[in-house]
């Protein structure tokens, strides 16, 4: 199966912390990487281009949440660091990539290989910076003794000592021109200058009253800017590190991130929900950009210039606001907002449009254009998206309708649902299974033990309870109990023609039963090595699409049960939902979504 596109998750954010965000510099030699920016989303790093909804690539090489990302100055490499102190260096595109190729070709390249992997720190990595020749890398963060490490990129050998901080180091910047300088800022309010290489302490400045959150050099290396929680922005001479003056940016909240748009134009992002553009020549704020939304969610935790006129700002709720200065002329302060999930995607629906729901309770509509619509529907994880019109069912005991007009209605439901299913049309009823009961919403409830999964049609309701699979009539009269399996039943699905039932369990085995006489058709579908998370029939009842926590997706054939198509490693940390596409040729594409928060679309290869 071949990848068509990946819809990536949004950046991971933390309150009062600069989010990990970096861009290939606009002056980089190769045009193919300009306009790319990278950010961390839980354990993966996402590389995107401007406002397109599909990502260029994702990097899944980290075993722990990623906390720092940095592009090399030529844009060919990205360094990413995680909360365990591991730093990986990789290329966001094929290494010998011909510059003549168009951007579109990059999108088909999803596999990203790690080039170098080093364990540099004993704690979280907060900041990374490449030198102008891309041969040296400094990583800073927390750790009991070593909070920073300067190494050669291709060998990992140490090139000096970064010292002078008494607590966690928040950010590092290396001077983009010769002679080499490195500046680190920390939680202790210190700004420390180093000369190199080999790097050694020169002097430190205690100008900020509180933690310093970010430090950046101007692209020509002339100036250096630090900003912190005390709302101060300090300007230093890039070469000597002498303090020049405090810039009057006048933010009303703490400043978490700074970025240079050009040699003279500085962007500062603050929790007061604005990004300010400051002109270093005129010494004044040229423009203030505000983001949509209110409250804590709209606090800006990261800003990054992407090209000479474009920049992105990330808010605490994970939205990316893309600003283009060329719109300044007609005074439009409008940003294009890129939305998506911030956590694992737990449910997918393709009718009438692609909808996805995640464990943070939000539902995102991916219409065919580059516009996403995100709504926080549930207080807890969403367990199912069912029917057409689509209902979302969550752990917060709520069933909400996702209408065409996209307003959300709710009705109370007495039990905490584990999974839900809809029988045929809306009138046939919605069935919900919880740990202790299976319920036809609004009419009847039957007690079961350890309810785990459910499926319903207008003839049968099938419930997985512990190791047993129970078949009910639509009025919840028990009809049959299948023999107990060796592991807990984790997914059940009745074929659209009501003839067959596929039952998957926590050991990865799937059994196909005939519903007329409850006999076994086949138990040959045993290719998953871990819990089967979802089973979906195609409309002709001839193929089933399955996914599991083993990160794999399989398509099995009913006609020849031994035949299958496999897709290994579809999502890091497991696939949680799959769907056949809803196009004219129903088996043309499949969608998959997983614990990494990515939604992927694949060209189907039928077995």
């Amino acid at each position: 199966m071949e990848l068509v596109e990946s819809l990536p998750p949004q950046p991971s954010t933390e309150r009062a912390r600069r989010c990990a965000l970096s861009a290939a510099s606009s002056s980089s030699s190769s045009s193919s990487t300009s306009g790319l920016y990278a950010y961390a989303s839980n354990k993966i790093v996402v590389v995107r281009q401007w406002t397109s909804r599909a990502c260029v690539c994702t990097f899944g090489g980290h075993q722990h949440p990623v906390t720092a990302v940095a592009f090399s100055s030529d844009g060919r490499f990205v360094a990413s660091g995680d909360s365990s102190g591991a730093v990986k260096i990789w290329s966001p595109k094929p290494f010998d990539y011909a510059e003549s190729q168009s951007m579109k070709d990059i999108q088909s390249t999803e596999s990203v290989e790690c080039k170098y992997s080093y364990q540099l720190l004993a704690g979280k990595v907060n900041g990374l910076s490449f030198c102008s020749e891309n041969s040296r890398l400094i990583a800073v963060g927390s750790g009991s003794s070593d909070r920073a490490c300067a190494v050669l990129v291709d060998s990992g050998n140490s090139i000096g000592e970064i010292s002078g901080h008494s607590s966690e180091i928040n950010a590092v910047a290396m001077r983009p021109v010769r002679p080499l300088r490195a500046v680190t800022v920390g939680e202790d309010g210190n700004v420390v200058f180093h000369e190199g290489a080999p790097f050694k302490f020169v002097h430190s400045k205690q100008l900020h009253q509180n933690a310093v959150s970010d430090v950046k050099y101007s692209p020509n290396g002339e100036f250096l800017v630090t900003a912190g929680w005390d709302r101060k922005v300090c300007l230093f001479d890039g070469g000597s590190g002498e303090f020049l003056e405090e810039l009057k940016v006048e933010h009303e909240g703490m400043i978490l991130s700074v970025s240079f748009l050009s040699d003279d134009l500085l962007l500062t992002a603050s929790t007061d929900r604005t990004v300010r553009l400051f002109d270093l020549k005129q010494k004044k704020t040229v423009k203030s950009y505000s983001v949509l939304g209110e409250g804590v969610g709209a606090q800006i935790v990261g800003v990054q210039a992407v090209s000479a006129s474009q920049f992105v700002a990330v808010t605490l709720n994970g939205d990316i606001h893309a600003f283009d200065r060329e719109n300044d002329a007609n005074d439009a302060n409008e940003a294009k907002i890129i939305q998506g999930h911030q956590g694992a995607v737990s449910a997918l629906s393709v009718k009438p449009v692609l909808l996805s729901a995640s464990i943070d309770g939000s539902v995102v509509e991916w219409s065919s254009s580059d516009k996403q619509k995100k709504e926080k529907v549930h207080e807890g994880p969403v367990c199912s998206l069912i029917g057409n019109p689509v209902f979302s069912v969550g752990w917060d005991r709520k069933i909400a309708e996702v209408e065409g007009s996209r307003s959300f209605l709710s009705e109370e439901q007495p039990v905490q649902a584990v999974q839900a299913a809809q029988a045929g049309s809306e009138e046939d009823g919605i069935y919900v299974v919880s740990e202790f009961a299976v319920e036809k919403v609004g009419s009847k409830s039957v007690a079961v033990e350890n309810g785990l999964c459910i499926d319903a049609t207008n003839e049968y309701v099938v419930v997985g309870c512990g190791n047993e699979t129970k078949v009910f009539s639509p009025d919840l009269e028990q009809k049959h109990v299948f023999p107990a399996r060796l592991a807990q039943v984790s997914a059940v699905q009745i074929s659209p023609d009501n003839q067959l039932l596929a039952v998957g369990d926590a050991s990865g085995k799937i059994t196909l039963y005939k519903l007329a006489d409850f006999s076994v058709v086949t138990s040959k579908w045993a290719f998953h090595t871990s819990k089967v998370t979802s089973i979906k029939w195609n409309s002709d009842s001839t193929y089933v699409l399955t996914c599991g926590l083993d990160t794999n997706v399989y398509i099995y054939s009913v006609k020849r049960p031994i035949r299958h198509t496999k897709l290994l490693g579809a999502h890091k940390d497991g696939v949680l939902a799959v769907q056949w596409s809803d196009s004219d040729k129903p088996e043309e594409f499949v969608y998959s979504a997983g614990a990494d928060g990515v939604i992927r679309k694949w060209i189907t290869r039928l077995p």
Binding site: L486, K509, V520, K524, A526, I562
Partner: protein
């Protein structure tokens, strides 16, 4: 420990035919063995020619144990030519009663030691363990 179950002469003959058949178009490329109903001997259940590997795997019953031999054809990576290897299968699905599995496990050596020239041994408890790709990676030691 051996169960004391013996091997019928026909079982060895069938194996030798398979081994010496030399991949002729009409010669057998698989033999499936089972233990007879009296549990005294290992006999040939079926032998013949399967058109492809999946056809052979489909002959293994879903809920019963078996032994099998298959003449496994494969293409070397990088166009380095074709190879064939004799593979011995011990088929014991998870769903079989434990008593049956014990009899098959303790009688396996009697048959296996009598067969010379087997290149690879495969233990299968479900169909994913006897899948073409799984067997191929074992045969080629993970190189393909």
């Amino acid at each position: 420990m051996s169960s004391g179950i013996g091997v019928h002469d026909d079982s060895l003959k069938a194996f030798n035919e398979l081994k010496l058949g030399g991949g002729k178009k009409d010669s057998a490329n698989y033999v499936i063995y089972r233990i007879n109903d009296d549990k005294t001997e290992i006999i040939v259940e079926k032998k013949g020619r399967a058109a492809d590997y999946d056809e052979f795997v489909e002959l293994l019953p879903e809920n019963e144990c078996r032994y099998a031999c298959y003449d496994f054809d494969y293409e070397l990576a990088g166009g380095a030519g074709k190879r064939a290897k004799l593979i011995f299968y011990t088929w014991a699905p998870d769903t079989t009663p434990i008593r049956h599995k014990m009899v098959y496990a303790s009688s396996r050596d009697a048959l296996r030691r009598a067969l010379n020239g087997v290149a690879v041994d495969i233990q299968g408890a479900d169909y994913s363990e006897v899948d073409y790709d799984t067997v191929l990676s074992k045969v080629t030691l993970g190189k393909s």
